[in-house]
Symmetry: none
Subunit: 230 residues, 2 copies
Amino acid sequence: MLTRKQLELLELIDARVKRDGVPPSFDEMKDALNLRSKSGIHRLITALEERGFIRRLPHRARAIEVVRMPGGADAAHVATVIDGGAQAQPQAPRNAIKVQQIHALELPVMGRIAAGTPIEAISEISHHVAVPGSMLSGNGEHYALEVHGDSMIEAGINDGDIVVIREQTTADNGDIVVALVEGLEATLKRFRRMRGMIALEAANPAYETRVLRDDQVKVQGRLVGLIRSY
Amino acid sequence: MLTRKQLELLELIDARVKRDGVPPSFDEMKDALNLRSKSGIHRLITALEERGFIRRLPHRARAIEVVRMPGGADAAHVATVIDGGAQAQPQAPRNAIKVQQIHALELPVMGRIAAGTPIEAISEISHHVAVPGSMLSGNGEHYALEVHGDSMIEAGINDGDIVVIREQTTADNGDIVVALVEGLEATLKRFRRMRGMIALEAANPAYETRVLRDDQVKVQGRLVGLIRSY
DNA sequence: CGTAAAAGTTCACCTTAAGTTCTATGGACG
DNA sequence: CGTCCATAGAACTTAAGGTGAACTTTTACG
């Protein structure tokens, strides 16, 4: 899986992060591996990223994170240790064997939502889904809903899909939102504001656009992601 | 992941919140880090937010929250500990570490695939995505591809979507598959076998169904999931 | 409720640190 | 003897960090 050099670099990064709390820069790595040019480091880093051992933010200084160590993790079920909120706890519990960082989060599926016509509650949690971190905007609360109906089908949202919603009370034109109409019907529609009114458009010609007064519509969240299983 | 300054500031905020119960103001942080201008703090805060370590409400006084600490896990980045299989950690660990199951796996994105017309390589890994375990069939290798083009649009597969593929060389009628045509074109199409020939149907009337001889088509995998970010 | 103080934001300017890219070099190898 | 590939080197681009000042929004208080 890894060449000797790649492994060496991976172990170096891991050791430095543990020692300093801060990942090494390219220059520091180059010195530590006795190379004279950091372009070699660049290639090694790229290789490690491709193989899924580290994650990084391109062009960002010291933005490297070790995701797993060789021999490590690759199973579908993994136990995650979530730190209560603060208190870093670097070392894993003793009987843990392998560690992998997964860039994802479990979100509650709060129920079903009728995509086209109205109703179906945002009520109790039925279960949870893992959602890739890249879908989440960093700040803001998120939850998931199961789509029922075909009214958003032309937007590529099918019956049974899981949609990921970011809680927010405002929306821009063209956003797909979860809106509460008349205080009770929760629907998933495309949001458009026009001369004082709000239009909720379905993405299916069989459904009519509903134009409502400002006070009849309460935006509850915006669609930020979609997950479908076949 | 963090530079020294960023880490320093993060630890300061964390310590202050623990000590005072209230996050420090920009001026207080500036003094604590021995800076003469608070605009530097602003930039560090922005960097910490980008990297997902803190969450904040813009313009609000002292509205900063530490979401996670380096090495520690919370929010979008979660450290997963793979328990050997048996014994999980039954007893509540010393400093209130919560254990959560994340039912997901990081899959490599192997490149782009043209959904409609032909070609685009399954070549090197560009990056990784977390994929919910419910998508994975337990056994079998999986990988991900970025969809390019609109040929599968009526199946709810849009340009830019990430599709999750399970490696397999056979397919049932109606499956959506990654197929290698004539040994070089990789396409995402619906698979149908008819009287000794294989039909690869696009889900877009603008594209024609291609009917090919058995030996011209090699099934490489089957679509098992889809992930879309807005 | 209005206003002043406090807190957060933005900009311009600068220096240094860090990451990226491209081309050249030199050895291993068939 | 040419190809492959890791290393080197340097040029280049961008990010990080620092400062000071003006400006806007919140928040607290009389």
